[in-house]
Symmetry: D2
Subunit: 161 residues, 4 copies
Amino acid sequence: MSNLTEKAIKKLNNRGVEIIDIAEIVYDLQKKYISTLTMDDCIKSVCTVLEKREVIHAILTGIAIDEAAEKNLLDEEINDIIKKDDALYGIDEILPLSIVNVHGSIAFTNFGYLDKLKPGIIGKLDKLGEEMKQCHTFLDDIICAIASSAASRLAHKNRID
Amino acid sequence: MSNLTEKAIKKLNNRGVEIIDIAEIVYDLQKKYISTLTMDDCIKSVCTVLEKREVIHAILTGIAIDEAAEKNLLDEEINDIIKKDDALYGIDEILPLSIVNVHGSIAFTNFGYLDKLKPGIIGKLDKLGEEMKQCHTFLDDIICAIASSAASRLAHKNRID
Amino acid sequence: MSNLTEKAIKKLNNRGVEIIDIAEIVYDLQKKYISTLTMDDCIKSVCTVLEKREVIHAILTGIAIDEAAEKNLLDEEINDIIKKDDALYGIDEILPLSIVNVHGSIAFTNFGYLDKLKPGIIGKLDKLGEEMKQCHTFLDDIICAIASSAASRLAHKNRID
Amino acid sequence: MSNLTEKAIKKLNNRGVEIIDIAEIVYDLQKKYISTLTMDDCIKSVCTVLEKREVIHAILTGIAIDEAAEKNLLDEEINDIIKKDDALYGIDEILPLSIVNVHGSIAFTNFGYLDKLKPGIIGKLDKLGEEMKQCHTFLDDIICAIASSAASRLAHKNRID
């Protein structure tokens, strides 16, 4: 595992996200298509996604924005918009495209699905944000992107093997 | 209404899709966010989406591919892949990006959601395709894109007014 | 002009970008296609682009990241990557998709073209960044997106009128 | 090499495109960044891009639409729009996103650059289309996407090795 991957995982952990939280979402997305799917398959797929440079950059950038907004370090007006995750603020859904795009169209449609339903850890992050306890405006969408990309990998791998 | 818009609506009708079918999906997507929403609002929003050149081009191109595949007019190998809407064929999810992208990130996430759940007419088209009665490989995704774009317009309009 | 648009223009000015700088790039992009094009047309088109909420959010977010990186306020590792605009860091090209996407495919291809050639103010910002005098990692790509979107508007308008 | 890859290469050849034509564009894009770059590196990178399922599907679908339009097999109105590659028809730039997106942001910006400049085989295809001798409305953009993706792979590989 590269240094940058380790760094990204540590940041995820610091912000309250474990790899197993993401793997559970992947499992729920794919179990109906792959009868033999195990949690181990899902964990491995998440880890492979986390090795890509684009993914690491997106994670570190997204969390950096969240943390800066949390500490009110950004320009007043945009700091407030980000912190309360304004309904018409859509940059947090654009940044994870750097993760989703490189994993093909199955990743892309699953991303929208997860972003609407917010299962598991995604909903937890979203709720912490709404209660203004922490700012996870970017992180919840990034988790959607990682989970949907890991699901897409499994879909492709399952067909090819 | 422009000639091209009329042409696009006629083609949708010919392929079994009425504007009201799309408006119903829009209504279900937005009613929980806009308490005063009426079916008329949704019909108007769908009609506005159908006036954009990009949208018309996407509809006419997508249906043209579906019809050509249905009549086996395309190169054998790709004709089969399109006709059976192979699980790993993703071009049908890419083409509607021309509709979704111009309507912002709310359109984009709703698109993935509809593509997974396939409510109403989307599911009907998908089923007709699976039974190999007709080919709607591109059309079902295009309907997802029109509905999610009309929903996005309502979300933005509602905030601004 | 809305408060948010004024705020965005003020931020652009503070970071060394005038509307006329962007309009000049638009003029150079479109003059060979529209024989009657004036600088005034280009200025108006840029201003219309700057009224869209997605565009304003992208500008304010991008500049906020640049400024935070400049002041070393972000997590060490990502702060350095952003500040030196690492060749394989691509998030700065993803964020402006929120601007480019809503303006259609002409905006999209012009964006890539400007990003490679870096004419006028884009090159100036890029050079200031390379010399580590200021951080414009996100801003230069955002200017590419505004200029290509304003050019796309003119292309569409010219055909329709 | 898979059957589908062979099929895609054969179709490219039939439509007048050789792998070496694409590799030359890749070489011109990357030679200033990679001093030791050879044509062999570029040919290999193009071949690797051609092994991806998304890429093969995009090639076969794009050429199928071009050929159907050439033979006037599509609905009259859209057939004409595609055949003359109308300036405001943008679906041909959307379909190749399925190739470009999976290869990251360097692929994405190079795509727009090639689409504007049309070097080598891209310009030849475009000219044949303009003279209405053949229809390459989709193919020229697909070649832009393959070349820019192969260039992106080299950029990433060069940094990592």
